[in-house]
Amino acid sequence: MIRPSRFLRQISRHIRREKRLSLGSFLVLAIALILIDLFWIGSINLNDQYQQILKTVRMEVFLSDSVPDSALPVMEQALLALADVSSVSFTSKEEAARILENDLGAGILEGLEENPLPRSYIIFFGRTKNLEALNALENQLVRLEGIEAIEFGRPWIQKVENIGRNIRRIGYAVGGLILCVVLLTMANTNRLTARSKSRDFFQLRLLGAGPSYLIYPFLAEGFLSAFIAAMLGWVLLFYIADQVTFSAFTIILPSLGDTLIYSILAGITGIVGAWLGIRRLLLS
């Protein structure tokens, strides 16, 4: 079994002998991986914005006039008992009229025999709820007696969710394409290297060399190139994020643990690319 020190010697020997090829493929890899990093950062920050928006979501429950005032405490308890509801705020008919007049001008209800505005409860949530959860809660609420209408800004939540979903889809597609670029880059680099070394490969096989001499150094180089390219990309992005500040928002970056896992996964992609590059030569 070949030792790691020999792997490193073989890799450094290859880089020394094939400086331009190694540097070129390393730069292409680094750029491709930085593009994935940027999409990831974009996704994290978009998701955060979405969560911030969801945090502001309130649900307003309008009561029927048939509900007597004496039943309101029971209604309030029923609302508080619902999952993730942190508090409720009651708005009487008079208060609703006052708010309407504040918003649209005094005297807007003049001439009417009685105040047509319904009583309502505003529900505040302890945890953010997405559209699906809000729909489910709405279905629960409509079953309660005395509730006339429910309002929670469904159209704009739907719009935000759609935007997020489309961005994610684009992200997956672009990420997939970039992953293909990484694989092809590794495969092509290794194929070129393997072709240039095919004579040496032949000699190694004549001497009885096994996979440890023929395959593993390529795979190790594939892993190290992609891993180091990924790590360098993160170092660069962390540095830029540290230097650049936006007054409107703060850029959220992945945790160091996540970037390490990502770099290891990039390295594994590098192994796959290296294998794709040399397998035909080895099987021939």
Binding site: H14, A209, G210
Partner: protein
């Protein structure tokens, strides 16, 4: 050690071997001579397990070549016992002479330190010390071929296949290669020498010639 028993082989409708037989014993020095396209290199490729015969049998150390080729591990182990100079055997271009000499021993599983020490000794013995740190394209042809012999010795090979090892060398250099082969033979290494000419004058135990797909004395 090597036995060809009525081996048949043709290449592009040209019959190369027709019932070709010979036997190379342990420690024997055998010269096979024949003109160009007589099948010398094909024979070397068969011994290396790269080409299989169309008929007959080949035995390497008593094992049938076909069954050796079927197992990758056995094929590797067989190849590790064979050293070569000339023909299909050459040095790795991206390694120094010392690294090349150490290579066979490394592949055979010797620890790197031991392989390097043996390679240094072999380089010194074969007068390659002054070019040990050079790459193959920086040294002379005779030094490259000598390095292949040094590699075989450092790798403790028990068979050396020399395919026209002195082709293109001047008389003095050719004699030096012949002397080294004779010395290896004295150390108990079997040598199969293939040539289009006469081969070494002193040292070999037997001379055979390719004639009409067979080997004759």
């Amino acid at each position: 050690m090597i036995e060809f028993d009525r081996v048949d082989f043709s290449y592009s409708s040209q019959v190369l071997f027709s019932g070709l037989s010979f036997h190379l014993h342990k420690g024997q020095y055998l010269v096979l001579s024949g003109p160009a396209r007589s099948g010398k290199s094909t024979l070397v490729q068969m011994i290396a397990g790269m080409v299989v015969p169309e008929g007959g049998d080949i035995f390497i150390d008593g094992r049938d070549l076909i069954s050796i080729i079927k197992s990758r591990k056995e094929l590797r182990e067989m190849r590790r016992r064979i050293g070569g100079v000339g023909g299909i055997y050459s040095l790795l271009t991206d390694r120094t002479i010392l690294e090349n000499v150490a290579l066979a021993a490394e592949i055979a599983g010797q620890p790197a330190r031991v392989a390097r020490k043996n390679a240094l000794e072999a380089c010194s013995k074969y007068r390659l010390g002054h070019v040990a740190s050079h790459f193959p394209d920086m040294v002379s042809e005779v030094e490259r071929r000598t390095a292949l012999l040094a590699r075989a010795e450092a790798g403790r090979k028990n068979l050396i296949v020399a395919d026209a090892p002195t082709a293109g060398l001047d008389e003095k250099s050719a004699q030096y290669i012949h002397d080294r082969l004779a010395a290896l033979r004295l150390a108990g290494v079997a040598i199969l020498y293939l040539t289009a000419g006469k081969g070494p004058q002193k040292g070999p135990d037997q001379y055979l010639c390719f004639r009409e797909g067979k080997l004759t004395p």
